[in-house]
């Protein structure tokens, strides 16, 4: 009997505690920057697209919801001609963000993506590409990679030495 009375007293004391409910949509819960929400494609600090259409994200995706087509611009820089993510299949695991070598594809703390028609959940490149750098400011893949594109020849990246001219090694 006394345990019952003690239970009643304990539950009664809960009436004087602060309530834990977050009154959505007036209040929003706090989401950390690494919270895995809506996927975006970011740009580098110079304004160009980061995505080099390497297909690593679509290969690692466990539910095969990413599809893209690679193409090259006139300066030899690879980029996706079209990039499609089917959010009705996406499980927001973040493996694509981990696989991306250029920090292009990122998951953001946004979850308000509700739609009434299922085909509106298939996001094309214009829905995914943002004008900013996303979560990783100051990273430009082409400045640290050895690839040659217009404006940067082989050997002109940061911390890179120019390639050795093999003909100058001959005795």
């Amino acid at each position: 009997m006394f345990s019952i009375l003690r239970t009643l007293w304990t539950v009664f004391l809960h009436a004087f505690r602060r309530r834990e409910t977050v009154q959505y949509p007036e209040e929003r819960p706090y989401l950390a920057p690494r919270w895995r929400g809506r996927i975006i494609l970011s740009r580098d600090p110079d304004g160009g697209e980061r995505c080099v259409a390497c297909h690593l994200c679509s290969v690692v995706c466990p539910v095969a919801c990413i599809a893209l087509q690679a193409t090259e611009d006139k300066h030899g820089r690879r980029y996706p001609e079209w990039f499609r993510i089917n959010f009705s299949r996406c499980i927001f695991c973040g493996l694509c963000e981990e696989a991306c070598p250029t920090y292009a594809i990122q998951l953001t703390p946004d979850f308000e993506m509700g739609e009434f028609v299922r085909k509106n959940l298939v996001y094309e490149k214009e829905d995914l590409l943002i004008s900013g750098v996303g979560k990783y400011p100051g990273y430009n893949f082409y400045r640290v990679a050895g690839l040659a594109i217009k404006g940067k020849d082989k050997g002109e990246a940061e911390n890179e030495q120019p390639p050795v001219d093999v003909r100058s090694l001959m005795p």
Binding site: L8, V11, F12, H14, A15, R19, E20, T21
Partner: protein, 318 residues
């Protein structure tokens, strides 16, 4: 003339008050339970969530009123009505303030006990007419529970009657002018509250009707307004037990300052809140635990209480 007004107005007023309290309890119980559970209850539908009662009632009205083809139709339709009728009949004897009572019967308490016994019929008929094994088992369990707990509900109240010297509820309240009966009859109060919970099938004694048990038990086949009758009948019963406990143990309308009716309503609401606290705190009794508690603990306690009270009343008259 004033007699006619009294005969018409008071029953109508009491009936409307009880009905609005039951509808308000749809909202109130959920909000109170939420308060005890560190969350908000319904607070979106209408101001403060009060529209929830209206929304629930409208929903129940619009539900398909289906009688199973294998059920026995006249009894099936009658059973929920019996719940509501017997509980409302119990309100006839409750004295809310000096003069505000529908029927000032000399055997008021006995009438209440008799009427609550009739409530068992509704459960048994509901389970039987559903023509469904699970409903039947639920109804049999409910009937056994209610009948067992009625035995010592009456016995616990006899202590109060011994001390007050009358079955008339108004006299019992008057007899508490010096000291409320909750002090000398504390054991009786506890037994009455336990028995009251079991009679109205409230948690922790709601095994017959809980959603997860036996597919909602005896009211599994009910939908729409008939289900609403059971649902609201439970709130009627809760209010009746609270009102009676207030009348018999907590001094009825007695109290300094506020008008008599205000005290009665305040005390009844506090006791209803206590019952909702019990609902939010305790796990459900298993059927054998329930019956063991009734027959092996509460009944002997009620008998001992009655014997001691009788001895003391004889030894110290007045």
């Amino acid at each position: 003339m004033s007699n006619i007004i009294t005969i018409l107005v008071i029953p109508l007023a009491i009936w409307l008050a009880v009905l609005s309290l039951a509808a308000g309890l749809i909202w109130g119980e959920r909000r109170l339970l939420a308060l005890f559970q560190d969350r908000y209850g319904p607070n979106r539908c209408g101001p403060l969530g009060l529209g929830q009662s209206v929304a629930d009632v409208v929903k129940l009205f619009f539900k398909e009123d289906w009688v199973p083809p294998f059920a026995e139709k006249p009894v099936f339709v009658l059973a929920p009505a019996i719940v509501v009728v017997t509980t409302l009949m119990g309100f006839v004897v409750v004295a809310m303030a000096p003069g505000i009572v529908i029927a000032d019967l000399n055997v008021g308490l006995l009438f209440f006990l008799a009427v609550s016994s009739l409530g068992v019929y509704s459960i048994v008929l509901a389970g039987w007419s559903s023509n469904n094994k699970y409903s039947l088992v639920g109804a049999m369990r409910a009937a056994a529970q209610m009948v067992s707990y009625e035995v010592f509900m009456g016995l616990a109240l006899m202590g109060v009657v011994l001390m007050a010297g009358s079955f008339n509820l108004a006299d019992i309240v008057e007899a508490q002018r010096r000291l409320w009966f909750c002090v000398p009859q504390a054991v009786g109060l506890v037994i009455f509250l336990i028995a009251g919970l079991a009679e109205t099938r409230r948690i922790p004694f709601d095994l017959p009707e809980a959603e997860g048990e036996l597919v909602a038990g005896y009211h599994a086949e009910y939908s729409g307004m008939k289900f609403a009758m059971f649902f609201v009948g439970e709130y009627f019963g809760l209010t009746l037990i609270s009102a009676l406990a207030v009348t018999l143990f907590f001094g009825g309308w007695l109290g300094p300052g506020l008008p008599a009716l205000a005290w009665f309503i305040l005390k009844t609401l506090l006791l209803i809140a206590f019952f909702i606290l019990v609902r939010g705190s305790l796990p459900r009794f298993r059927y054998d635990q329930l019956m063991a508690l009734g027959w092996k603990v509460c009944l002997p306690l009620a008998l001992v209480n009655l014997a001691v009270t009788g001895a003391l009343v004889l030894a110290f008259p007045g």
